[in-house]
């Protein structure tokens, strides 16, 4: 992750995503194919976040698919999860930031801009529009729509985000 050292926001997002995705992981409940896919993914992600011990046991688990290794795997995973829980602070929230009022016309204009950006299926096109809309105080209904769309964009689910608009 040395290449991401300058990007604290992304690094924290990756750590938070790891915590959120694997805090309640139950590999034993998965069918063989999904088990294989998950162990393989964790092998890659643990290396990304620098969790060396978890990475080592994940390699063994990925290669052997031997469920006897699960006890050791969970031990290492829980160490990482607990460390993340203790050390990670919640991602910067914008709840307390003072937001500007927005006119109906500007709101429509920005939402249209966001819809166009989503259609391009390019994260870099969506980012500035999301930031721009974030500056304004929206109605309850619009806030709900915007937050849902934002969640989908962050997860790269552009089609679903587009469907929310339509």
């Amino acid at each position: 992750m040395s290449h991401l050292a300058h990007n604290k926001k992304l690094y924290l997002k990756i750590l938070n995503d790891f915590l959120e995705d694997y805090e309640n992981l139950k590999l034993e409940d998965l069918d063989d194919e999904e088990f294989k896919r998950q162990t393989h993914t964790i092998k890659g992600l643990s290396a990304n976040i620098g969790a060396t011990s978890l990475h080592k046991i994940s390699i063994k688990l990925d290669e052997s698919q031997n469920k006897d290794l699960l006890t050791e795997f969970y031990e290492k995973l829980n160490l990482v999860i607990n460390e993340l829980k203790n050390k990670l602070e919640p991602l910067e929230s914008d709840v307390n930031v003072l937001k500007e009022d927005i006119s109906p016309n500007l709101k429509d204009e920005l939402f249209d801009k966001l819809r166009d950006a989503i259609k391009t299926k390019r994260p870099k096109n969506c980012e500035p529009v999301l930031d721009e809309i974030n500056k304004y105080k929206l109605s309850k209904e619009d806030t709900l729509l915007f937050e849902n769309i934002k969640k989908l964009i962050i997860k790269y689910k552009f089609k679903e985000a587009q469907n929310l608009f339509d």
Partner: protein
Amino acid sequence: MQKELSTILVVDDTETNIDILVELLGNDYDVMVALDGKSAIEIACEEEIELILLDIMMPDMDGYETCEILKSDLKTQNIPVIFITAKIDEDSIEKAYINGGHDYVTKPFKPKELIARIKTQLKLRSLIKHLEYISSYDMLCGIYNRRKFFELGEYKFGNERDDLFVIMIDIDNFKSINDTYGHPLGDEVIKSVTKTISQNLPNDSVFGRLGGEEFSIVYHSESKENVFQESEIMRKEVEKLEVFADNGDIVKFTISAGVVKNNAHIKTFDQILKEADFALYEAKGEGRNKSVFRD
């Protein structure tokens, strides 16, 4: 911005991997994202993708299958695919190449290596595109050259449809234009004629320069009357053209056209071109600046 940067499609079902790739590549490339193989194929068909970074382990359709489908479709088969995966065994690597992958990068990403490999594939892609261009297009007028015209024409002819037509076109008295005003002006005339014909081409036409001042068009049409009319429109549009010579002369020029329709007696593409050539000779013999249809 999107047009200047090479467009890279990242295909991975794990959000974190995409986060990292978007961060790594987002400033230097136009990055698009797909979370599964099916969406990746859709995007590759719809957009001008120049490179695909493809994960192997994905639910439903894995990276191997996705790559195989991309390679079997004319629209997407030339897009280079770099597999990105945590699989490092030799069998997986071999399978990636067998299924059409151009390169293979393991996770966790080593950014400098990944970027170097991306650059290599994009450079190769751009060189191949350039080679394809210079081996397919006429350098003077930008239409298909003889080789490409025959390749595409043979393909159309091979479909054995009897609604296939060929128009053979020649610039009238071109030698005297060259002799009087010199070759640079002759080149201007060729460019002007081909530009005008290109602007009036029916859909799905194959238009090429066979050599010198001779050109040909191959296309399908519902009726010979339509084709003849289209040939006449081109001829009349060319008749309106003018090129200015260095000595102040206004140089005007015309074309003749021979038109034929495919039929059961014609067995080869060369033969239909020969028939069109006969029709062209007739047009020349009848005083030039005209279209002749030969049954």
